[in-house]
């Protein structure tokens, strides 16, 4: 089962997900796209309360202008959730000197028989790729937009539901075109 989380305006969101049934599997795909003076605060807590549960969380964060983002992703694996499997990945891209990102992926594990991990990366667009595209006739803006779309494309492709994927892609394009 897949859950898509999408934020492109100021918000203070707190979500708690509890995996209570044995064997429950969940995939969460998240987009945090901030621009102007938006402040996007997202707190996502995933609690594993039964054996053989699993959850893969993949977030992409893109911030333009003076947008700020606070992202807290907490994974809690209870003592009786044996053979649980949890992974959180968060990748962030800051497009402006005035944007601010705060990312805190937390893990609280109370049993040995699990596999859990997280990774968080923050990077910038590859200068060489921007140069390459500019030399092919794109403006710097167009080049950056294209590369940012590329940054988001891998999780867009993971969305299984056709309609949701279409709508999400449209919202992403709209965000990118707003400059």
């Amino acid at each position: 089962m897949q859950k898509i989380i999408f934020f492109d305006r100021s918000v203070n969101s707190h979500q708690k997900i509890k995996l209570r049934k044995k064997g429950r599997h969940l995939e969460i795909i998240g987009f945090i796209l901030g621009q102007a003076h938006q402040s996007i605060s997202v707190s996502l807590e995933t609690e594993f309360l039964a054996p053989e549960t699993s959850c893969q969380i993949d977030f992409r964060i893109v911030l333009k202008d003076s947008a700020t983002c606070h992202f807290n992703g907490r994974i809690k694996i209870a003592h009786h959730a044996s053979k649980a499997n949890a992974f959180l990945n968060a990748k962030a891209l800051l497009l402006s000197k005035n944007s601010h990102a705060e990312i805190s992926p937390f893990l609280e594990i109370e049993t040995a028989d699990v596999t859990a991990g997280h990774s968080a990366t923050l990077g910038k667009l590859d200068e060489e790729q921007i140069y390459y595209l500019s030399s092919r006739g794109l403006t710097k803006n167009e080049a950056e937009n294209l590369l940012t779309e590329g940054f988001l494309s891998d999780i867009l492709a993971k969305i299984k539901d056709d309609r949701i994927r279409r709508v999400t892609t449209h919202k992403v394009k709209r965000f990118l075109s707003q400059r």
Partner: protein, 465 residues
């Protein structure tokens, strides 16, 4: 009890001998105690003032609740220990059985046993120490205890004391600033490379295991120094609260490595503040091993203020029965092209809890900064716990930050493979856990590495904790 201190030699007749006759200054941490300490040490007015002001800050600050459980600390019942050694007992027979057994098993030589059991006030290494001290003197290196430094180099000390960790930093830094005693003071002149790790020749320094040590290290431009403190053998301590502060100033092009091995007895609260300020092209390396104590809260930090500055923290935490190691690191990038790496390994077993807590901050206008954090945790049974609490705060788009953490148990396949090769399950598990910790252990001075490997093996073998 003989209380000759080998460092500094000139202090044999001074303050140190007098302490032993002053048994205690009463319970509770009060202004009266602060004044007594300051007058007893015959300190300049600015230091007495600093202590009193810090006591006030300590009282105003609330006890933090975001980390380990500090709610049971009874501040009114803490006793300030003027004794130069941290020991509770003074005869081998009075030591708890587990501690004696550990000493036997990790193969501590008799001379060290005498010190560790409080029979001797310090490890007797006069001969070795003498020739090393001469060499350091020739190089212009100052290596003394902080009390002596206040007397001998007051202006130098005053220039740096409490500049990186003022009382306002946190409640326990304030406590330390009010009651500090002991600790090391090191100054390395420009361009001087100190070849031997300081304290390597003197593994057990009573002064460096005090209740509220205050250590300052100043590495002037282009210099290099390594410092090792602590003891892998468990220390049965009298004081139940240890709040040390370490401040390190790495000047341009200098390089400092600070290694700590902590194994306080399991009733001790170990709350330490360690901060280094690294200037242009300087390098600071923290190597932190936490094995003992009831609760340790310690986050060695690097403020990377000059361009090209580098910070590194390697840490290993092991939490057994009723222990909580809440440790990590902080790297703050405040200049362009700074780099930092944090490598943390933790092992929890028998109901112990390890928590990695870290901050990685890249301020605005620090383009070209690179930071990498890698945390791996091993949980060995169904009753233990492991947490990872990293935070990344980024204000600079032209930076590369990576953080990765994994939590796992000892792999079934690995165990099976080793057992197939003739190892018992215990031996196999011990080998795997040791292998897990090796990237950190191999960076330690050899004698510590050997002892810690042995400690890990013992911890795993003993099913009753």
């Amino acid at each position: 009890m003989r209380t000759q201190s080998p460092i500094p030699l000139e202090y044999k007749l001074g303050f140190h001998n007098e302490i032993t006759y002053q048994k205690n200054v009463g319970k509770g941490l009060s202004e009266k105690v602060v004044r007594e300490i300051s007058s007893f040490k015959d300190e300049p007015e600015w230091m007495s003032h600093s202590r009193l002001s810090a006591l006030n800050t300590f009282r105003l600050k609330p006890t933090p609740t975001w980390g380990g459980n500090l709610s049971e600390i009874d501040y009114d019942n803490l006793t300030y220990y003027l004794s130069p050694t941290p020991h509770k007992v003074h005869a081998w027979k009075d030591l708890p059985k587990e501690i004696k057994q550990t000493y036997e098993k990790i193969g501590i030589p008799q001379a060290e046993k005498d010190f560790l059991s409080g029979v001797e006030a310090q490890f007797d290494s006069e001969v070795i120490y003498g020739s090393i001290k001469k060499k350091l003197d020739r190089q212009g290196v100052i290596f003394t205890d902080t009390d002596s430094a206040l007397k001998k180099y007051p202006e130098l000390l005053r220039e740096y004391f409490s500049k990186l960790v003022p009382p306002s930093h946190n409640k326990f830094a304030a406590l330390n600033t009010a009651f500090w005693s002991g600790g090391s003071f090191i100054y390395v002149p420009k361009g001087v490379q100190v070849s031997l790790p300081l304290q390597a020749y003197f593994r057990i320094n009573a002064r460096s295991m005090g209740q509220f040590e205050r250590t300052l290290i100043i590495a002037d431009e282009g210099s290099r120094v390594r410092y090792v403190e602590g003891c892998s053998a468990p220390i049965y301590a009298s004081a139940s609260l240890h709040a040390a502060v370490v401040e390190i100033f790495v000047k341009p092009g200098a390089s400092v490595q600070y290694t700590t091995i902590q194994n306080w007895s399991s009733d001790v609260y170990n709350l330490v503040t360690k901060v280094a300020r690294v200037e242009e092209d300087g390098v600071m390396s923290w190597l932190d091993v936490n094995i003992g104590s009831k609760l340790t809260m310690k986050y060695p930090s690097c403020l990377l203020v000059g361009k090209g500055a580098k910070g590194e923290t390697l840490s290993l935490a092991i939490a057994g029965k009723d222990q909580h190691q809440d440790a990590g690191a902080k790297m703050i990038h405040l200049a362009p092209n700074t780099t930092s790496t944090i490598t943390n390994k933790s092992i929890s077993l028998k109901g112990g809890r390890t928590s990695y807590r870290g901050l990685l901050q890249v301020a605005r206008d620090s383009p070209g900064s690179k930071a990498k954090v890698r945390c791996d945790a091993l949980i060995l049974d169904q009753i233990s716990r492991s947490d990872t609490y990293p935070t990344m705060k980024i204000d600079e788009p032209d930076a590369t930050v990576e953080h990765e953490a994994t939590v796992s148990k000892v792999g079934e396949e690995q165990l099976f493979y080793l057992e197939n090769r003739g190892l018992s399950q215990d031996e196999a598990e011990s080998l795997i856990v040791n292998g897990f910790a090796q990237p950190i252990i191999k960076e330690l001075p050899m004698e510590y590495a050997l002892e810690i490997n042995e400690l890990i093996r013992m911890e795993l073998e003993n099913p009753l904790g």
